[in-house]
C-alpha cells in the first residue's frame, strides 16, 4: 500500500485504479447502459429485418460496433473482463484487512478507540473491581454476548462481539460472480447447444449446433417413438410430448416421455421438448368390411391417392373434417365401381356401421387420420452449469450476510477512580445498520446501568 508521502509508482497507480470503487460503479453503469442498447436494437435478426428499420448508413455503423450481436462482441466481453479484474483486485485489496479485523480484535478499550466510537457512556459505581467485572460479565453475556476479560495495568476490559461473518458477506457475493463467470466460460468452451427435428419413428446421431454450421456426434442415437399434442378448447396447445429412446449400438438403453419443462438427460446431454410440426401430409385409414360385419382389409389413404379394393372398386379420400356437423371426425370419399357412376359420401368415425345401409357387397368405415409429426428438440450439454448454480447459491447467501448481519462490538472498561468508586465506560460499534444498533445500544446501556452488584 502506498503510504502517501512518496510519489506513487506506476504499479501503485495501476493498482489503485483497479481497486477503486469508483471504477466498479463506472463499469456497472456502463454495463447497464450497454445492456439497454442491446434491448433497443433487436439482436441477431436477419439483415432484411434491419433494412426495414434502419438506413444503410446506420446499419454499417451498428455493424462496425457489433451492435447486432452486442452481447458477444469483443468490447462487451472486454467490459466483463474489466469488471472481473476490478472485482478480483478489490477483493485482494480488502479481504486481508477484513481478516485482520477478525483475527486481531481490539479487546481493550483505550482512549484512542474510545474517541473514535460514537456510542460511549460512562458512570460510577461503588464496589470492588473484580466483583463488578464478574457482575458485568454475566450481564453482558445475557444482554449481548459472552465477553472476554483482559487486565491491563490495573484496568479491566470486557470485550464481546457478534456477527463477525458479516465482514465476509461482500466477499462471498463478489466471489460468487466470479464463480458464475467461470461456470459460463466452461459451458461455452466445453459444451454445446443444438437443435434436432426428429420425425416419429426415426433417430438421429448427430446434432447441428445452434447458429453454427458444425455438427456434434452424440456418441449414441436418440429416437422419437411417438409425438403427441393436446389442445385446449380455445385451440391453444395444452401439452406436447415426445416418447424418446436412447439407443446404444441399436439397443435401447433408456426411454422417457418428455414434455416442455421435463427434459431427458443421458450422459450429460439434455433433450428439451421445444417445438413440433407436421412431417408430410396426413393419411386416413379405411377399413373394408363384408356385409356380415367381418373385416376384409385395411386401406391407408394418402390425400388425393386412389386405392384399389380388389374385386370391388377404387376409393379415394377427397376431404376431411375434424368435426362434421357435430358428429366428430369424418372423411369424404369417392367410390368408383366398374359400370356405375362415381359415388361420393361421408364416412363418420363415430359410426362405423353407417355405410352398411348402402347394402352393397362391401361397406367402408373410417378408422381415423394419422398425422406423422416431427418433434423439435433443444439439445444441450453444459458441463459448467452446476458451477453456475453454486455461484448463484453463494450469491444469495452472500447478499443476505452482507445486508442482514452486522459486526457489532461492545466494550466495558472498569478502572478505579480518584474518589474510590469504580469508573465504568461502556462503548459499542457496528459496521452496518447503525439505526438498529443505536436502539440495541440504548437497551444495553439501560441494562448495564441497572445492574446491581
Amino acid at each position: 500500500m502506498a503510504d502517501g508521502k512518496r510519489v506513487d509508482s506506476l504499479m501503485d497507480q495501476v493498482w489503485k485504479f483497479f481497486t477503486s470503487i469508483k471504477l466498479a460503479i463506472f463499469i456497472i453503469i456502463i454495463l447497464a447502459i450497454a445492456s439497454i442498447i442491446g434491448t433497443i436494437i433487436e439482436q441477431n435478426q436477419p439483415l432484411e429485418k434491419y433494412r426495414q428499420i434502419y438506413t444503410d448508413g446506420a446499419i454499417r455503423l451498428f455493424e462496425s460496433l457489433n451492435l447486432f450481436d452486442m452481447y458477444h462482441s469483443w468490447w462487451f466481453l472486454l467490459l466483463l473482463v474489466l469488471f472481473t479484474v476490478n472485482l478480483s483486485c478489490c477483493t485482494i485489496d480488502r479481504l486481508p484487512r477484513a481478516v485482520k479485523v477478525v483475527r486481531n480484535p481490539k479487546t481493550t478499550l483505550d482512549e484512542n478507540l474510545e474517541k473514535s466510537l460514537s456510542h460511549v457512556d460512562r458512570w460510577k459505581k461503588k464496589g470492588g473491581l473484580e466483583g463488578l467485572a464478574e457482575t458485568y460479565k454475566a450481564a453482558m453475556g445475557g444482554a449481548f454476548a459472552k465477553p472476554l476479560v483482559t487486565e491491563n495495568s490495573g484496568t479491566l476490559h470486557l470485550y464481546a462481539e457478534k456477527g463477525i461473518i458479516s465482514r465476509f458477506g461482500v466477499y462471498v457475493t463478489h466471489l460468487s460472480i466470479i464463480i458464475i463467470f467461470i461456470g459460463a466460460i466452461i459451458g461455452n468452451v466445453f459444451g454445446f447447444k443444438g437443435f434436432a427435428n426428429i420425425v416419429e419413428g426415426e433417430s438421429v446421431r448427430t446434432i447441428p449446433t445452434r447458429g453454427g454450421t458444425n455438427h456434434v456426434d452424440l456418441g449414441f442415437a436418440v429416437r422419437c417413438n411417438k409425438f403427441w399434442v393436446d389442445f385446449y378448447p380455445s385451440g391453444q396447445p395444452k401439452e406436447y410430448a415426445s416418447d424418446l429412446s436412447i439407443l446404444e449400438n441399436g439397443r435401447e438403453v433408456l426411454r422417457k416421455k418428455i414434455v416442455v419443462n421435463d427434459p431427458l438427460q443421458y450422459k450429460g446431454i439434455w433433450f428439451y421438448q421445444s417445438s413440433y410440426g407436421a412431417a408430410g401430409a396426413a393419411s386416413a385409414t379405411l377399413a373394408v368390411h363384408s356385409p356380415d360385419g367381418g373385416k376384409v382389409e385395411t386401406v391407408p389413404l394418402a390425400p388425393g391417392q386412389k386405392k384399389e379394393i380388389p374385386g370391388y372398386g377404387t376409393v379415394s379420400g377427397v376431404d376431411y373434417q375434424n368435426d362434421f356437423q357435430g358428429l366428430g371426425p369424418a372423411l369424404l370419399v369417392v367410390l368408383e365401381k366398374p359400370g356405375t357412376p362415381p359415388a361420393q359420401f361421408w364416412l363418420l368415425k363415430a359410426y362405423p356401421n353407417f355405410d352398411r345401409q348402402r347394402g352393397d357387397s362391401r361397406y367402408l368405415s373410417f378408422a381415423g387420420v394419422d398425422q406423422i409429426f416431427y418433434t423439435g428438440l433443444q439439445v444441450a450439454q453444459d458441463p459448467g452449469v452446476n458451477i453456475v448454480w453454486v455461484g448463484c447459491t453463494l450469491m444469495v447467501i452472500g447478499i443476505m450476510i452482507a445486508f442482514f448481519m452486522s459486526h457489532q462490538r461492545l466494550w466495558i472498561r472498569l478502572s478505579r477512580g480518584g474518589d474510590g468508586r469504580v469508573e465504568v465506560v461502556l462503548a459499542g460499534s457496528t459496521n452496518k445498520n447503525r439505526l438498529a444498533f443505536e436502539k440495541r445500544f440504548e437497551k444495553i446501556q439501560a441494562d448495564m446501568k441497572a445492574v446491581v452488584a
Binding site: I21, I25, I28, K238, E239, P263, V379, D382, F403, L435
Partner: protein
C-alpha cells in the same frame, strides 16, 4: 367471477386508503391515517382471499394453477405485495405518513389491472412448471421493496427541500426526519435486492430446465439485469462512497423506473420470451 369482484373491492379499498392517507397529511387528522391503515389491512385480507378464490376457481375450470401468469394476475399480485410490504414498514417504523406515497402505487396498479382482461386463461406448456411459483413470487417481493423505497425517496426529497429552506410545519413537517427516511430508502432496497437476485436466479434455473439455456440475453432477462445493476450501483455508492440523502433518493427513483420498465415496458414495447406476460 367472484375473484374479479373481490379484486374490484380491493381496488376500491386502495382508493379509499389513498384518499385517507393523503387527507390525513393535509388535514392533519391522525384518525384519517388510522382509518387508512385499517382499510389497508382490509384490502390485504380481501386481496389475499381473492387470490385464493381465483386459484380455487382455476381448479374448478380444470386449469388448476397459481394465479400469477398473465398481466392482470401479475398486477394484482404486485399490488398485494406492495400493500403487505407497506404494512410491515408502517408497523416497524410507527409512521403512517408513508401511506400517502406508497398506497397510491398499489391503487394505480389495481386501476391499471382493471383495464386488462381478467378471465382465467389456461397455461401454455412453457409456463407449466413449479419454477413459476418461486420465480414470480421472488420477483414481485423484490419489485414491492423497490416501490416502497421509491415512494419514501420522494418523501425524502420533499423533506430535504423543506429543511433547506428552513421551513417547518406544513404537510412535510409531519414526515419522519430525513435521517429516518434516508435509512428507509436504503433498507427497502436491501430487502428488495436479494429477492430480485433470487428472482433472476430462479428464472435462469427455470429457463435452463425448459430450454437448456440459463441466460439468452432476452429483453426481459437483460432488463432484470439492468435493474439489478442499478441497485448494485446504489448499494456500492452508498456503502463505500457515502452516497446518502439526495443522490441516494434519486438513484432509488431511477431504479424503480427501470423496474417498471422491466416489468411492463419490456412486454408492451419490446418482444421476447416473456411476451405472454403482456397479453
Amino acid at each position: 367471477m367472484l375473484n374479479v369482484r373481490l379484486f374490484d373491492i380491493t381496488t376500491l379499498l386502495f382508493g379509499v386508503a389513498s384518499v385517507n392517507y393523503v387527507a390525513a397529511l393535509y388535514g392533519k387528522k391522525v384518525i384519517l391515517a388510522r382509518i387508512g391503515t385499517w382499510v389497508c389491512v382490509a384490502a390485504a385480507i380481501v386481496s389475499t382471499a381473492a387470490i385464493g378464490v381465483r386459484w380455487a376457481e382455476s381448479y374448478k375450470m380444470g386449469i388448476g394453477r397459481i394465479p400469477v401468469t398473465n398481466l392482470y394476475e401479475s398486477l394484482v399480485f404486485f399490488a398485494w405485495s406492495v400493500n403487505l410490504f407497506y404494512l410491515a414498514v408502517e408497523w416497524k417504523y410507527r409512521s403512517r405518513t408513508f401511506g400517502a406515497f406508497v398506497i397510491p402505487i398499489a391503487f394505480g396498479t389495481m386501476l391499471f389491472a382493471f383495464t386488462n382482461e381478467s378471465s382465467i386463461q389456461p397455461l401454455v406448456p412453457a409456463l407449466q412448471s413449479y419454477w413459476l411459483h418461486a420465480h414470480v413470487i421472488t420477483c414481485f417481493v423484490g419489485y414491492a421493496g423497490f416501490a416502497v423505497s421509491a415512494g419514501v425517496a420522494v418523501m425524502f426529497l420533499m423533506k430535504a427541500k423543506q429543511e433547506e429552506r428552513k421551513v417547518t410545519g406544513g404537510v412535510v413537517g409531519l414526515f419522519p426526519p430525513t435521517k429516518v427516511l434516508d435509512e428507509l430508502v436504503y433498507r427497502a432496497i436491501i430487502w428488495g435486492f436479494p429477492f430480485l437476485t433470487a428472482g433472476i436466479i430462479t428464472g435462469a434455473a427455470w429457463a435452463n430446465y425448459a430450454w437448456g439455456t440459463y441466460w439468452s440475453w432476452d429483453p426481459k432477462e437483460t432488463w432484470s439485469l439492468i435493474v439489478w445493476l442499478v441497485y448494485a450501483a446504489f448499494l456500492h455508492a452508498r456503502v463505500t462512497r457515502g452516497w446518502h440523502g439526495r443522490r441516494a433518493a434519486i438513484l432509488s427513483i431511477v431504479g424503480f423506473l427501470a423496474t417498471i420498465f422491466c416489468y411492463l415496458g419490456v412486454n408492451l414495447v419490446l418482444s421476447g420470451l416473456h411476451s405472454y406476460g403482456g397479453a
